[in-house]
């Protein structure tokens, strides 16, 4: 089932949480809503679920498979919702928690006891917790609670699955295992899924597509590859991974950042405008000296060799910190020591001048 959000706004008092958001989630995809806290991603998720009403002005609409569900009550949308803190029923066992959605169905459509049992057992198998069906939520670890919450949401055979920060409350190790598991699970059951996260790594790893949100608006929608390599805005680039940010001006068709000059093909027409240059740490190269090339001078302040890559910190002009990452192999070819004066050149960068992007 596809989800379509059409021009939806939501304000809480004076605060505009969503500002005319439109989004299309194709059938069967696993999509991440990524953004910092306060960007409106959870609000959007709750509006899709029907837990929150959107502002009735304008022509806002929520459509499931082309059908308007805005006026449909929460319980009738057949949405599976996994809450950030799981919201398991504390006085019910794991089994009863999962069975809940089936037991509360109105008489005519309610499955028989045997059917409910079979369905719950099947889900327990799916989440690999068959032996814990008699436990209460407080007797489970965080990861187990998360899986029970997911099974409970899947029990009603939802048309769409919505997950609010599904791994937010777990420690790093469990988190990684669980997100791979979620990816595999999605490949198995193929229900249209939308999950909220503020962790870019999580989004890049799990999702088919990523929706980057900021201040109640959607900044970019694309595959993990697209949003990472072709960020539509400085915000997206900054939010997805580390970046070095340089401020400069446009002069004679070129963007000037101190001793570093970026000359876009075709040149820039807007002289005097301020420009921002974003460079990922792994796109910077360190050389002993510049010899008239465009780049930045600095001296090494820190070299971190532990870990899969080498991380080097430099102090540039005006002591601006510059972060460089490279492979161990490359570092062995050009080693550097703390205090050494070096020259840094970008291999790749992105220039943002007002609305103009390269």
């Amino acid at each position: 089932m596809s989800i379509e959000v059409r021009n939806v706004s939501k304000s809480f008092g004076d605060f505009l949480a969503l500002d005319g958001v439109s989004l299309h989630v194709p059938d069967g995809e696993l999509v991440a809503l990524l953004g910092p806290s306060g960007s409106g991603k959870t609000t959007l998720l709750r509006i899709i679920a029907g837990l929150e009403a959107f502002d009735l002005a304008d022509d806002g609409a929520i459509l499931f498979d082309g059908q308007d569900v805005a006026r449909q009550a929460v319980g009738r949308r057949r949405v599976g919702f996994v809450f950030q803190h799981y919201a398991l029923f504390r006085h019910m066992t794991v089994f009863e928690n999962i069975a809940f959605g089936l037991r509360v169905r109105p008489k005519p459509s309610r499955p028989t006891k045997a059917e409910i049992n079979a369905r719950v057992r099947e889900l327990l198998r799916l989440i690999q917790l068959e032996t814990l069906e008699r436990r209460y939520p407080w007797q489970l670890s965080g990861g187990q609670r998360q899986r029970v919450a997911l099974a409970r949401a899947l029990a009603i055979q939802p048309k769409v699955l919505l997950l609010d920060e599904p791994f937010g409350a777990l420690d790093a190790k469990v988190r990684q295992g669980l997100r791979r598991w979620l990816r595999r699970l999605h490949d198995e059951i193929h229900v249209t899924s939308l999950f909220v996260t503020h962790d870019q790594e999580e989004a890049l790893e799990v999702a088919d597509r990523i929706v980057v949100m900021n201040q109640g608006r959607i900044e970019q929608v694309g595959t993990p590859n697209e949003v990472f390599h072709q960020p539509a805005s400085a915000f997206v680039m900054d939010f997805l991974g580390n970046v070095n940010l340089f401020h400069g001006r446009v002069e004679a068709g070129r963007a000037v950042f101190g001793s570093m000059v970026i000359e876009p093909p075709g040149g820039l027409q807007i002289d005097g405008e301020s420009a921002r240059l974003l460079i990922r740490p792994h796109d910077l190269e360190i050389q002993p000296d510049g010899e008239g090339r465009s780049g930045l001078r600095g001296h090494v302040t820190r070299v971190q060799l532990a870990g899969p890559i080498v991380k080097i910190e430099l102090a540039g002009e005006n002591n601006q910190p510059i972060y460089v990452e490279m492979s161990h192999e490359r570092y062995r070819q050009h080693p550097c020591t703390v205090g050494e004066k070096v020259f840094v050149t970008p291999r790749d960068s992105r220039l943002f001048v007002e609305d103009y992007t390269i």
Partner: protein
């Protein structure tokens, strides 16, 4: 309730800290003895006195005190009042705490303050309010009298005054509990397709059942023991509007000490029973919240992998 469990734990730690600092044992003993003596003097002795006085002329005389019609009618009226006031306040308490804990609305803080009103005013004043409203000289008195309805100096007045005095108990108990639990579980139930009614019976109510019971026990104890407000509106009509506490006073004023203390002993027993039930419920809820605080067991962590 988890809060009390935690603070108790903290108390224990502080005590241990003192002992570690080598506080003299005699200080500990002195403080403990002082508080025990105080308790004995002001709670133990009166309680014993009630039962001694009641049994002064033997068990026969004690039991005979309950044989007469006035005594029986006082007991019946007390039970009737509690039977009306407690369920009413149970429903009101649930509704009020639900509204306050789960919804945002204008005038919420006013409602919270109003719920505390009976605690804030003297019970005698509460009684007088009802006399002012429904008495023969009161606002609605003449209108009601014209239709042959008597409230003041009659059973309805006694019930009304008791309901008023006891209504904060259940709500006060539930509001913090429900606020702590939040609305996520209810939302989860609604998303899963439960109706509002199903959500209430299957999720909200089971989650607060021990707190609710606790409130009901306290409410019942107060409903049966209320004196001030009831005294003002009852008119002390023997066999008609006398509740047990009022009846005790009458007997005492007539120098009928055995009967007075015999009836008083019933109220004392009710108090003791309430304390036991209260302790049981507290023990139960504390157990639950401690379970909730227990970190996942090693086995659970193992199963995680």
């Amino acid at each position: 309730m988890g809060g009390t469990a935690k603070s108790r734990l903290r108390g224990r730690r502080v005590a241990a800290g003192l002992a570690a600092k080598g506080d003299p044992t005699w200080v500990k003993w002195l403080i403990t003895c002082a508080s025990l003596c105080f308790l004995l003097l002001f709670l133990g002795v009166p309680l014993v006195a009630v039962f001694t006085e009641a049994l002064r002329k033997g068990l026969g005389a004690y039991l005979e005190s309950f044989q007469n019609r006035d005594a029986l009618s006082a007991i019946r009226l007390t039970l009737l009042v509690a039977a009306v006031a407690v369920p009413l306040n149970l429903v009101f308490g649930l509704a009020a705490s639900w509204a306050i804990a789960k919804f945002e609305f204008r005038g919420k803080s006013l409602l919270v303050t109003l719920i505390d009103l009976p605690f804030a005013v003297s019970p005698v004043i509460s009684g007088l309010i009802f006399v002012l409203l429904f008495g023969l000289q009161g606002w609605f008195g003449p209108w009601l009298a014209g239709r042959g309805i008597q409230i003041i100096f009659a059973v309805p007045g006694v019930v009304l005054a008791t309901v008023f005095v006891t209504f904060p108990f259940v709500a006060r108990e539930l509001i913090p509990l429900m606020q702590e639990q939040g609305t996520e579980e209810e939302e989860a139930a609604l998303v899963l397709g439960a109706s509002g009614w199903q959500t209430f019976w299957r999720v909200t109510l089971p989650n607060v059942k021990w707190g609710l019971l606790y409130g009901v026990i306290l409410c019942n104890a107060r409903a049966m023991g209320e004196f001030g407000a009831v005294s003002v509106v009852s008119g002390h009509l023997r066999g008609q509007t006398n509740t047990m506490p009022l009846y005790v006073e009458i007997l005492y004023n007539e120098y009928n000490f055995v009967a007075a203390f015999a009836v008083a002993s019933l109220l004392a027993m009710l108090a003791l029973l309430t304390l036991v039930l209260k302790a049981l419920v507290e023990w139960r809820t504390q157990g639950e919240s401690e379970e909730a605080f227990t970190p996942p067991t090693a086995a659970a962590a193992e199963a995680e992998r």
